[in-house]
Amino acid sequence: MRQYPRWPIHLILLFVSSLMLIPFVWVLKTSLSGENIFSYPPALLPRDPHLFFYVDVWYTIPFFRYLVNSAVVSAIVVAANIVFNSMAGYALTRNFPGKRAMILLFLSCMMIPFQVTIIPAYLITKKMALLNSYLGMALPVCSTIICIFVFKASFEAIPKSLIDAARIDGLSEWRIVLRILLPLSKSAIATNVILAFIWSWNNFLWPLVIIRDQEMQTLPLGLSRFLTVVEDTTGALYAFCIMVLLPGLILFLLAQKEFIAGLTTGAAKG
């Protein structure tokens, strides 16, 4: 079979990847120089770069407080997602009456946007006395249907004989999930961690609805507050965006291998 040179396709891929990076480069460049998009002549690299816009952000609003709030909420969401989604995912690998209806219900629920359910969600949270609290902010994203299916696909890829052997050895269903399935589903766990973290980290609408205390605000709310405090926001606003993006970006880069493996588990199952 004739082997074609691979460099042309790599060159095209490199070019397309560079195009995808342009918005990020632009945000980073503006955060370092304050030049807006209309500056002329346009330049790829920042002129006279400095980090003072980051300092402005740090001192203009209680950034560290917002960072801690976002981190606490994200930690709750990530932990809850792993626990609840793995349990739900395992349940969906078992046979029980109405399983098909349950899967269809899950899939149809994915079509309903959060904005539609925000009023009942608010009323439930209020009834539970969780308004203006970390747990209240975390509650609606403590389990997500996509992540349940990620776990389901990962668990189904594990040989059934392994689970049967564990059952013969006397392991309970809980211990099968904890000792057999979860250690073999690291990619699904990484996918859950990344998706839950990013969804929680970027969540704006729900915290906006239930948070009243300024001390309880998260970073996305801080961003909107920042816009009302600072007059000339070009550089500082972009610096803020970089500071908000950075934790999610680091997490994604660290776990990207497992993340991609988690999303593709079961995809090529014949």
Partner: protein, 123 residues
């Protein structure tokens, strides 16, 4: 100890070390000292010039300190808690330097201004 050698621990550890180092550096350099010199356009030191330290709020510049230069034209502020401020110098008969912007990496950072503030005779 092999379990410590993975990319999660190394990255988070490096970030932790960076944060601790930065805080140590801040603690060692946050006496709030601003020092410099005032000279004429001919680079002659100006004694008795008034140097004003001000912070810009949303609309106006709020004065935060004032000092007078010594025989060698030197001035010094101590204990400031600013990270973005303006310095202005003037002396009757010698001229004036309009507010000049200075930015620091943290509040109260010590700043020794190498380039002197130059008074220009007002027309």
């Amino acid at each position: 100890m092999a379990w410590l050698r993975n990319r999660y621990i190394l990255t988070l550890g490096a970030l932790g070390v960076l944060a601790i180092s930065w805080n140590i550096y801040v603690a060692l350099n946050n006496d709030g000292i601003i020092a410099g010199r005032v000279v004429t356009a001919e680079q002659q030191p100006v004694s008795g010039a008034t140097v004003t330290l001000s912070e810009r709020s949303l609309l106006v510049a709020v004065p935060k300190g004032r000092t007078v230069t010594d025989d060698k034209g030197g001035f010094r502020f101590a204990g400031h808690t600013l990270h973005h401020f303006y310095l202005e110098a003037s002396k009757e008969g010698a001229g004036r330097m309009p507010p000049k912007e200075f930015r620091l990496y943290f509040k109260g950072q010590n700043l020794f201004i190498e380039k002197p503030l130059v008074l220009a005779e007002s027309k």
